[in-house]
């Protein structure tokens, strides 16, 4: 597929960005230079460093030109624009991405966002405020559920089955990330951005 080199001059900085024709033609996506995100919750790069994903109150968005223009990505849930609380790319496979939503649990794509499936089996509720992927074992994720079924859940098979681990971080949590720093106890750390600041806990309990 032909690539179009686009030079963007922005406040003295020249950025070379590649727009991919295949992505531009994806069904179910609408493009806008500056969509109304309203409340932004999450920003993440895919594993290839090519697509930037943004989760917001008005849904899921993708940019393939370094954030200059955005396409809204259709998600197959009963709400037309689910509130996307977290965007969690697989660190090894650019085609795999998980999103956490305020009302529909966790959604997963394995084809770069063309199709999505709900992966909520075992979750006690569908209001998911944080979603972290293990950089060493991408099939292992932690999800933070609020309200009904509140708690921290873990899957070790890419979302096929979740098991509740504990209560999770105290207070309102904005972001949850697995960080590849050894705890000395056989696991790595989970960092949580909360209303009370940054917290971390071992992920091995």
């Amino acid at each position: 597929m032909a690539k179009i080199l686009k030079l963007i001059v922005s406040t003295g900085v020249i950025v070379a960005a590649y727009a991919h024709g295949a992505a531009a033609a994806r069904a179910g996506e609408t493009q806008s230079a500056r969509p109304a995100f309203e409340h932004v919750h999450a920003l993440a790069f895919d594993a290839g460093g090519r697509s930037v994903w943004l989760g917001a109150h008005t849904g899921l968005f993708r940019s393939e030109d370094c954030g200059v223009s955005w396409r809204k990505v259709a998600l197959p849930v009963m709400h037309s624009s689910p509130d996307v609380m977290a965007v969690t790319p697989d660190p090894r496979d650019a085609a795999v991405l998980y999103v956490a939503t305020h009302e529909a649990g966790v959604l997963k794509t394995t084809d770069g966002g063309r199709t999505w499936s709900e992966v909520n089996s075992g979750l006690g509720g569908l209001d998911v405020h944080g979603l972290a992927i293990d950089p060493n074992a991408p099939n292992k994720l932690h999800a933070l559920v609020r309200d009904k079924g509140e708690g921290l859940y873990r899957t070790t098979n890419g979302g096929q089955r979740w098991v509740r681990v504990d209560d999770g971080p105290a207070g309102e949590t904005k972001v949850l990330t697995s960080v590849n720093l050894a705890t000395g106890m056989g696991g790595i750390y989970l960092y949580a951005g909360t209303a009370e600041g940054l917290q971390r806990n071992p992920d091995c309990f």
């Binding site: 922005s10 920003l43 790069f45 200059v68 972001v175």
Partner: protein, 86 residues
């Protein structure tokens, strides 16, 4: 967590090639740690009211952030300099 304001942490990102390098996004701005979060330095000319931050998986010095009103900003040098994307 020295150097990080006692405030809500809205966004967090880690350098995929060096997990000790991490970034926090908050109303006070963007902060970087090089030691796993023990000490933090504010991005002197970075934006305020930041909702989220991300590191380019293939170019870890390239860091993006989005403000609470939806403006995308980019740093080409690990958070030292920032410019809005237009």
């Amino acid at each position: 967590m020295g150097g990080l304001p006692t405030s809500t942490v809205d966004g967090f990102a880690v350098d995929p090639t060096d997990a000790k390098v991490m970034y926090v996004a908050m109303r006070n701005g963007i902060f970087r740690s090089d030691n796993g979060g023990w000490t933090w330095t504010a991005a002197a000319n970075g934006p305020k009211n930041v909702a989220a931050v991300a590191v380019n998986a293939k170019k870890p010095n390239e860091v993006y952030a989005v403000t609470m009103d939806g403006v995308i900003v980019r740093s080409p040098d690990g958070g030292a300099q920032w410019a809005a994307m237009r």
